[in-house]
Symmetry: C2
Subunit: 205 residues, 2 copies
């Protein structure tokens, strides 16, 4: 099994943290680092594995390639059910999926859109709109406040248990430093949660 | 059980088509239509059910509210496993999730971003960037070509079987008319697929 990834991007980290929480031995998987700045993820060879060129991609021993962080995470959820990170019954699966998607659509994506459109880090391969970057930055900023309130009444993002939604939120908060967003001094609930999830061994993956 | 939704938006349609494919009786569910133009989805009452204000939201009889189309779909996948629309084993679940996400991130979202940022349909409640709208329109346009090629070798979006990825793609192609995108005369594979999925009874849901 091979994992094509990059150490600096937030999406591969989501998969690495997920795998660490599952207790998957990284030595059993060949890690292939791609240099995104050098556009190694857009080579013809890599695009045969993932035609849209994103990272990470998991290549199974039978040659099947699975792209998209959450598709890879779901593969590992099925092959390594314990501990469950995506719920255990219809209701908890739905609630965790809801919160994970909220963390993606309303938090990770605005942060990524702010970064890419303001910095122009990938302007050699995509059109940028600094105007939309600023709009995205404002949306991402608001989510820090939303999450602080939410975590006043919830131990974890999706409620009582650590889940994939915490992984997405953790990777987003940490990545947000690239657009100079940090947890505010007064956002004590968000800080309590961030300290707790950062203290787990998986956060180092 | 209550489904808060809107007939004109693409995301509630994804859930309705999913439910129809599952053979769920719409008479057993109370459908509550919200007028998005009148911002009924941003009322204090509705935001107690879904604080981020999107549609659809499914309210269970125990009061639990599930927002996000794919979280609601996952709930029904669990409670009504047949026919499976999200895969049956680790590999097929991952492949379908990958393709569904590609259809969302690279197709539905660019179409939605083009619509919202160019038309300013929700400019009373969100900042718009026509510049980013045009960038998104270009990305969405390219996906029609990508999908036409993909469907030359695949009967359905995720391979041999109809799945949730087809539902997302169908709702996106049909919604794309709002930004004047249509399947090209020469995109015969995409047209073959669109005719097939549109002919299913669920497409009318």
């Amino acid at each position: 099994m091979k994992l094509y990834q990059s150490d600096r991007a937030p999406n591969p980290r989501r998969v690495r943290v997920f795998m660490a929480e599952k207790g998957i031995d990284f030595n059993e998987i060949e890690i292939v680092d791609l240099d995104l700045v050098a556009a190694e993820n857009l080579s013809e060879e890599y695009k045969r594995k993932n035609p849209l060129g994103g990272v990470p991609t998991l290549e199974l021993d039978n040659g099947t390639c699975i792209a998209e962080s959450m598709a890879i995470s779901r593969y590992f959820e099925e092959t390594h059910p314990e501990p469950p990170l995506m719920g255990t019954d219809a209701e908890s699966k739905a609630i965790i999926e809801m919160w994970n998607r909220r963390m993606e659509l309303n938090f990770l994506f605005p942060v990524a859109m702010a970064f890419r459109n303001i910095s122009g880090a990938f302007a050699d391969r995509e059109k940028c709109s600094p105007e939309f970057g600023e709009i995205s930055l404002e949306r991402a900023t608001k989510m820090f406040g939303f999450l602080n309130k939410h975590l006043a009444n919830n131990e974890y993002i999706a409620g009582d248990s650590y889940s994939v939604a915490d992984i997405t939120a953790l990777c987003t908060v940490d990545f947000a430093r690239v657009v100079k967003l940090r947890i505010g001094e007064d956002q004590t609930h968000l800080k309590r949660w961030h300290d707790a999830v950062s203290a787990r061994a998986s956060a180092q993956a």
